[in-house]
Symmetry: C2
């Protein structure tokens, strides 16, 4: 059993128990991911509108902190495309005056994301990711991938393009400037893409991005392409990141808050999704904990804020490679971070001739794989309403921007929850002839029903969001039965819950039906609902003898009573309501 400390600081659990047999896998995986991280980090920093070096800084201390606090043992943390784009969008709206101010805002954003994620983890709010439904995530990711890809076309085509999250604006600008395309940049970019696409065929772990980077550097250096207008990274400062600090200006915080919230949620959703996918293969080795993941990502973002990084989260392809290359613990992440530190100390000079177009090609190829047409096709065939949810999220993200898009998706999902919650499935039941089984008359042929009795089943909780819908539907059915109706039996077997609005409503239903000579019984009431009914003293109002274990006994009791009434010529069968 985990101790208190090792529960909140998972490294205390795995490091003391570290087995030598895992070392090979962790080393291989750490080096593989580290080699991936160098070009990816630089490329993603460019998406974020920062100098490439900050992408490398972002995979030093943050990785170390995640390795200490993370509950996943394969998750590879660092800059990712989506979060980088959100960072750029958020800072652009603040119109920073200089490069220093831009960086300051990026650090602030990382700090705020750290506070939000850390706080959500402490408050155990990890469950919020559930509210991004599968179709919404799919539509959002595809659209974001396109926007991110488009953001790199300025490097690929060598033309100035607006820093816009709206696809149509970028496409329009490209069309307008089609004549000015810098063909050399395009050629280098396409060359890099070809290397990326074909080198995968050599071996799945072939360091394709690194190969493309080496190709670009060598080509530029040998042919002096930068003298023909090819943009290059230029001098990259060597050495470790110096300590930095975010700003604590209230106004900047207020303006960055919406984007910080978005990054916190989207970043966590992406990270947790991949952590969960990988965890499936390591179920028996460790527990994955959504809230601990929030805490760990929060810590990683604090690290980014104070060591010249920018917001980070768990990356998709990176984590998959880490896992497949044999990572069994976060030691792999420590190895990756060490490799980056060594690069920063000794190798930055090598990046001088690296063309921007090569980094752009790395981004474009990476995000192209995120465009998910298959899911859309499947949903079109199997779940039309989820298809339209995907489409709406996709279109609004693509045309109105990332933030509006994710919000549209979230609101659509919630409206769906609420809309569906307000319209529970309901059925009129009839007897399967000769049995004590009752089924939905719409789904089964030849069921027996009575004119003087309406047997209905409500499939869902009875609560404020649906009481009106239920009553209206019941009234419709009551009206259809006509004046011979004497009794409504409500089968409560699939009513899991009843709130105070629901309890009030049942009193109302009772008095409104009894006023027209129709009595009400209940059958198969579930335990939790039975308790609520008791607290509201509904059995007293309805009559204690109006509750039955199943439909069969309810019907039998009703017909017995009718027979008795007829023979004794008693008062009609109603009881008083005590509201």
């Amino acid at each position: 059993m985990a101790s208190f400390f090792s529960r909140y600081i998972p490294i205390l659990e795995w490091l003391p128990a570290y087995r030598k047999s895992n070392l090979g896998g962790d080393l291989t995986a750490g080096l593989t991911v580290g080699v991936m991280l160098i070009p990816q980090g630089m490329a993603y920093a460019m998406i974020a509108g920062l100098e490439p070096i900050h992408g490398l800084y972002a995979v030093t201390v943050p990785l170390l902190l995640y390795a200490i606090f993370g509950s996943s043992r394969q998750l590879a943390v660092g800059p990712v495309a989506m979060v980088s784009l959100l960072t750029a969008a958020g800072i652009a709206s603040l119109e920073p005056e200089s490069g220093e101010q831009y960086l300051l805002y990026a650090l602030t954003l990382a700090f705020m994301v750290g506070v939000l994620q850390f706080g959500m983890g402490l408050l155990r709010l990890g469950f919020v990711v559930n509210f991004l439904s599968h179709p919404v995530i799919s539509g959002f990711t595809s659209a974001a991938a396109i926007i991110i890809g488009l953001s790199q076309f300025k490097h690929l085509l060598g033309i100035p393009l607006p820093q816009s999250e709206k696809a149509q604006e970028v496409v329009y600008a490209i069309i307008q400037q089609a004549g000015d395309i810098h063909l050399l940049s395009l050629a280098v970019g396409v060359g890099a893409m070809l290397i990326l696409l074909f080198s995968k065929r050599i071996h799945p772990y072939f360091p394709a991005a690194l190969a493309a980077v080496v190709f670009g550097i060598l080509l530029t250096w040998l042919l002096g392409l930068h003298e023909d207008g090819l943009r290059i990274v230029g001098s990259v400062p060597g050495g470790l990141p110096e300590l930095s600090s975010p700003t604590f200006e209230v106004e900047a915080w207020r303006q960055l808050l919406p984007i910080a919230l978005t990054i916190s949620l989207v970043g966590f959703a992406e990270s947790y999704a991949v952590a969960k996918a990988v965890h499936r293969r390591h179920k028996d080795e460790y527990q994955l904990d959504a809230n601990q993941e929030l805490v760990a990502l929060g810590m990683a973002n604090f690290g980014a804020a104070f060591f010249q990084g920018y917001p980070v989260t768990g990356g998709f392809s990176r984590t998959a490679v880490n896992d497949k290359a044999g990572a069994r613990s976060n030691l792999a992440s420590l190895v990756s971070a060490t490799l980056i530190v060594l690069t920063l100390l000794f190798l930055t000079a090598l990046f001088f001739y690296l063309p921007n177009a090569v980094l752009a090609a790395i981004v474009v190829v990476a995000v192209a794989g995120l465009i998910d047409v298959k899911e859309a096709k499947i949903l079109w065939k199997r779940d039309r309403s989820d298809f339209f949810m995907l489409l709406a999220t996709f279109v609004s993200t693509l045309s109105l921007g990332i933030e509006v898009g994710i919000l549209t998706g979230l609101v659509l999902s919630l409206v769906m929850v609420i809309f569906r919650a307000s319209r529970p499935h309901m059925a009129i039941l009839g007897r399967v002839p000769g049995t004590s089984t009752f089924r939905n008359v719409k789904r089964f042929e030849g069921l027996e029903t009575n004119d003087d009795l309406l047997l209905v089943r409500i499939d869902g909780p009875i609560y404020f969001a649906n009481v009106d819908y239920i009553k209206a539907k019941l009234d419709k059915w009551v009206a259809r039965k006509g004046p011979s109706l004497r009794m409504i039996v409500i089968n409560m077997e699939s009513v899991p819950r009843l709130d105070s609005t629901g309890a009030h409503a049942i009193f109302d239903w009772l008095s409104s039906w009894r006023a027209v000579g129709i009595d009400v019984c209940m059958s198969s009431v579930k335990g939790p609902v039975r308790d609520v009914l008791q607290r509201w003293q509904l059995p007293k109002a309805m009559g204690e003898d109006h509750f039955f274990l199943d439909d069969d006994t309810a019907l039998a009791a009703f017909h017995d009573r009718l027979d008795k009434e007829r023979s004794e010529r008693l008062q009609p069968y109603t009881t008083q309501v005590n509201p």
Copy 2:
């Protein structure tokens, strides 16, 4: 059956078929309500920060329009306390420079409310009122009543008080100025309150407010109290309202939009609640239609915007009086409007000596009846979580203002829907010994369960908001069963729905359990869910023979199979997953 036109213009249904026998009731009710409307309209206009005369204008054309379009035949439309307060709060935030501008904003607000309500009616959005739960409405109404009452203390106490929606600010100002209270105003106000409270004992329809008004006017006129600092209404312009127009400035609209939305929703919720309550007694006479009500209230607000009124809606006490005094059609409203028109033409001079303190007393007594302590007490006993929802809405409305309060209530309600939707009730089932009946092992003693089989029931839809919760709970139960577990049977009888995220999740569950040698079956799948499973080809993945009509047959099939396996020494009982 109603024709197309009479469906959308209900007056075309009831007026041609008007029966003379209803005339007496309609006349009596119309006059009674009209007499109520004169002081109420003036008093509520004062809450809204307008000259009292606009309260009278608001019950001329709007009443006429509601009578034409309204689907209720008893609803009495006009200014109400809550909407008046919201109007004042909304306009105050725009800091109007003059009385004319204040009025212009009030007209604009009425116009915007008209557009919103009319539009919501056309879009059939009447169902949105369902999302204000009973406890939220109760807490909100009580707090709003207190705020409205406090807003009148400046007239009752004759001291200047801040136009604030935050109770603590007003109370603080009263305490600070306790020494400056104008005792004459207080005495007149208390006198009016006593008349209001005691005259109800004479007869339930005694025109108490009118009596208080007459008392105030006579007293002031005879004793010349206005010369001792008693504030009076002063000269009221006679004649009908002239045509007015709202402003169409974009900036004003943008700023008024949140409050216009709030008024539209709160106004409609209040109006529809009373219309529904009264309709219960007239079920056989006409149909009440939420969307038509929105259209009619929208029209009434257009009338207010163009004839110098301000936002109106159906009033609670007024409608109750209208119904009890015998109104059988909207002719009663036409009678009330006629009475107001006559007053405007010939009687406005009489109001010169009317003390503001009397109008304030009318408001205070009216809203005191809205403070609902009983519901809070009941909920404390019967539904603790709904009690806290009421309390949170009450406290936030009282201390943070009307808008924040209603928003808090709405958000709380929605969070509740979503939170509950994300945690469906689930149960492990066991066999009632010697029967084919299965029940929740937590609720019943002595049920039979097996070590090699887990039978569970999920009570609710399986969809994006709850798949993680369901899986985590199932995994916990699977872990508790230990290594002897061979089969999970999911009883789907109370699963009414399955979305694409749910379908994807079931594939995941399947492969994760089969990977550890546990197979999965389903029993009692409902029709709509069966269709979805088919579309996703889940039966193919699980095995067509893994679906059973009930738990009993599922268990029997499992044990048959186990026996066969043992005797034939076959492969373990698993099938392939085709994702």
